[in-house]
């Protein structure tokens, strides 16, 4: 072991503050939290040594909800208050629940914003709040293990998640008091965990069959850059369906009727899961279920029978595999590695079929339950700034096309799926009435032609359009998708340069005011008042601005600024420093704005300079190569 650490010349001598960061796999069945400690990414266990937290929350009429194993244990006795597989409900609408929730025993009520609420002993709870309750437990676990407050987290989502589902996940993080640095696609996280970016590279398929979702992603890895070439999947297919297939078989064999009660169904699912897990190693397993009339039914399930039951489900995963290959413009033989993710890939038949499809033995060395959290932790560590020299960069794509509703209920694509994000597309619209000052846009996500076959994302109301003759106004609407895959819309009338104000009505998500209310409620519990929280948020932002500025000035302030520009920035920064410690949240906000204004030109110059440097470096390399020849 090295006793002395010798730093490279040019490397900062000042001790770098290690920021506590974690990766969270918010799964359908289980959730995990992982962090990089002493250079090693590992999942963090709870007090009992358990790494997996069952994604189950039980609400009671008083006290905090139970999360995890104790909640799972109560699932059979208290099914209506015990929420499992809530991930399937994230970003979903009331009418989706009729489909998705067919097998969910919960009592749904309609919420204000078309979001299904779960009626429980603790009141009506949104899926976002249930997820936030899971995240809070993981946050507490991480902060306990790491011995400090988390500065930022990366939360993983299925690559196939649409905008509403991603937004709901981000909202859950916010509700749980987490600083979400990035939403990361689960398959990308898995590739990071395997360190595939460190290798020579190539095209990799990530086959992720979890409890409730299936994703296939084709990634190209090249010199530290991960590029998602395509993604496909099924957000309502997973290991739970395997259990259901086995449960169906048991019901048929044991003569249990289709209208069995909640308790009976839960028991059956439990027995089915045990049988499935036993068949990973064994070629046959005994199955026993208690019947309603106090008798037991016993039988035997062989591996061959099990394979027949799950084959149709596995086949259902191969269709998205073909689609992903086609979208990436490659054939199965071009794939250089297949990575297995998700507990359901322990099923030998899955490995066999997937291996057969891609023509190679899949990679499964890292625990398929932990691999996503481990990758998220590595990414969180880099994003938090703990490895400034790391070259890794993830380039993601938008999984589903974004479209606008046009005449006749047709969807016109504005951003096609698999476009690398961030991305933007501007489109011009005009008014069709004299003096028209408002306009409505309906944004949908999906590949189908009819709006009714796509998912409704949001309706945008454009207001304050200057009144002009019909066809006279030219409104340029810009759809911007950020690096998390979330959509933002801005609009400007071109002839007058008047910005339109936009009101967003998310079709399924929570509005900002609803989140604000929930935050307030949860604050009440935490006995911390809203005012204080806002102040703290402003102080954190002030620190971030000052720290970034200081680092930038130290690096190139002398080169890029003349004395006058530098003085203006220093004055603004000094002022921010002086108000930062105070308790006036507005004064801090204004001082931040003043610093941003004073340094706007500088920030832009730095960005342009970094682009130039990136290009200049190349030219020099090529020149030198030519010189050698």
């Amino acid at each position: 072991m090295a006793l002395l650490q010798i730093s490279e010349p040019g490397e900062s001598a000042a001790p770098h503050e290690h920021r506590l960061a974690a990766g969270i796999d918010l799964g359908t069945t289980n959730s995990l939290v992982a962090s990089v400690r002493s250079g090693v990414a590992e999942t963090l266990p709870d007090i009992d040594g358990e790494h997996l937290l069952p994604s189950v929350v039980r609400y009671r009429d008083s006290g905090a909800p139970e999360v995890g194993k104790t909640a799972l244990a109560a699932a059979t006795t208290d099914p209506l208050n015990t929420i499992a597989s809530v991930k399937r409900l994230m970003g979903r609408g009331v009418e989706d629940v009729k489909h998705v929730g067919t097998h969910m025993p919960y009592a749904f009520v309609e919420g204000e914003s078309n979001m299904p609420l779960l009626h429980t002993a603790a009141g009506n709870i949104s899926p976002v709040e249930v997820s936030a309750d899971i995240l809070r437990v993981l946050k507490a676990r991480a902060e306990e293990s790491l011995g400090g407050e988390l500065q930022g987290v990366v939360i993983t989502v299925p690559a196939y998640f649409d905008d509403a589902q991603r937004q709901a996940t981000r909202d859950a993080g916010r509700l749980a008091g987490l600083n979400v640095l990035r939403l990361l696609n689960e398959p990308t996280a898995a590739a990071v965990a395997y360190g595939l970016d460190r290798e020579s590279g190539g095209v990799t398929a990530i086959y992720d069959l979890g409890g409730g979702t299936f994703d296939i992603s084709i990634l190209r890895l090249k010199r530290g850059v991960f590029e998602v070439m395509s993604t496909a999947g099924d957000s309502a297919l997973g290991g739970d369906d395997f259990d259901r297939a086995v449960a169906g078989w048991i019901m048929q064999q044991a003569g249990i009727r289709d209208d069995a009660g909640h308790h009976q169904m839960r028991r059956l699912m439990h027995v089915a899961r045990d049988a499935k897990e036993a068949l990973t190693a064994a070629s046959a397993t005994g199955v026993t279920v208690a019947l309603d009339d106090d008798r037991n039914w016993s039988g035997e399930l062989t591996r061959a029978q099990f394979d027949t039951l799950v084959d149709p489900l596995i086949r259902k995963t191969l269709s998205p595999c073909r689609r992903a290959l086609r979208d990436a413009g490659i054939r199965a033989k071009d794939i250089e590695a297949v990575v297995m993710v998700g507990g359901s890939t322990r099923v030998p038949r899955v490995r066999e079929k997937v291996g057969g499809f891609f023509g190679m033995e899949p990679l499964a060395d890292i625990d398929p339950d932990k691999v996503v959290a481990v990758g998220a932790a590595i990414q969180a560590d880099i994003l938090a700034g703990n490895k400034p020299e790391d070259e890794m960069l993830l380039l993601d794509v938008i999984p589903l096309s974004l479209g606008l509703e046009t005449m006749g209920g047709l969807a016109e694509k504005i951003i096609p799926r698999n476009t690398t994000i961030p991305t933007a597309r501007a489109q011009e619209f005009t008014t069709f009435k004299d003096g028209q000052t408002a306009m409505s846009l309906h944004v949908v996500q999906g590949e189908r032609e009819l709006v009714s076959d796509c998912r409704s994302l949001a309706r945008f109301e454009l207001r304050d359009i200057p009144p002009l003759v019909a066809g006279g106004a030219r409104i340029r609407v810009t759809f911007q998708v950020d690096a998390d895959g979330l959509l933002g819309v801005t609009a400007e009338e071109q002839t007058t340069a008047v910005k339109s104000s936009i009101e967003v009505k998310p079709s399924y998500g929570l509005s900002d005011s609803e989140i604000e209310t929930m935050l307030k409620d949860s604050m009440a519990h935490a006995q911390e008042d809203m005012q204080q929280r806002r102040l703290r948020e402003q102080q954190v932002e002030a620190d971030r601005v000052l720290e970034a500025l200081r680092a930038a000035l130290a690096e190139d302030g002398d080169r890029m600024l003349d004395a006058g520009e530098r003085a203006a920035i220093d004055v603004a920064a000094l002022h921010l420093e002086s108000v930062r410690g105070g308790s006036d949240n507005r004064a801090i906000r204004e001082a931040i704005a003043a610093v941003e204004k004073a340094s706007a030109v500088y920030v832009e110059r730095r960005m342009n300079n970094s682009i130039r440097q990136a290009m200049a470096g190349h030219r020099i390399d090529e020149f030198e190569q030519k010189g050698e020849n």
Partner: protein
């Protein structure tokens, strides 16, 4: 002294403004640029820098998409000359092209009824690809001629656009046929 970054996609990527693009070079410059501007590099920066980073990364992505694709690249080069291109109102009187267009549409329409739909579709896609590539060659010659015939360029782009659309339809049909197998 400074490179004008607001200029063109070619300028941004430090490539000569020409239809011929070294794709390997484009690829590696794309990655270099994203390493410099991508939002992941700015998660701890101020809101202002994060906004700017998103805008720049968006521009780099857009430029990459345009330069990578011969059709979009050709169209972009034509637009840089100030030529306004109007898809909907542009028509051609090229009889051979119109005939090819009809035949391919017909062939695509008959795929489902074929004894081996995948083979039939495969031969349509091969023909569409070779037509497209042939036109891309024409486009290169036109754009790199001493005196560019803008109308001829626009005409070629329109034809390429047609084959591109046909290719997309063929891909969708392939997806639909595969889904029906499951």
């Amino acid at each position: 002294m400074a490179v004008d970054l607001s200029s063109t996609h070619f300028g941004l990527f430090g490539l000569p403004q020409s239809f011929t693009v070294d794709l390997a070079q484009l690829d590696s410059r794309y990655r270099e640029l994203q390493r410099a501007v991508h939002p992941d590099r700015f998660v701890n920066a101020s809101d202002q820098e994060r906004r700017l980073s998103m805008q720049q990364a968006t521009r780099v992505n857009e430029g990459y998409q345009v330069l990578k694709d011969p059709l979009r690249r050709g169209r972009y080069l034509l637009e840089l000359t100030g030529y306004t291109f109007n898809d909907e109102h542009h028509t051609t009187s090229d009889a051979a092209f119109l005939m090819e267009q009809m035949e391919l549409r017909e062939a695509l329409g008959e795929v489902r009824a074929a004894a081996d739909p995948f083979a039939a579709l495969g031969s349509v896609i091969d023909r569409v690809t070779s037509d497209f590539d042939g036109l891309a060659g024409d486009l290169q010659a036109l754009l790199e001629a001493d005196e560019t015939d803008h109308d001829a360029v626009a005409d070629t782009l329109m034809k390429m656009q047609f084959f591109r659309r046909l290719d997309e339809e063929a891909q969708e049909l392939e997806a639909a046929l595969e889904d029906e197998l499951d």
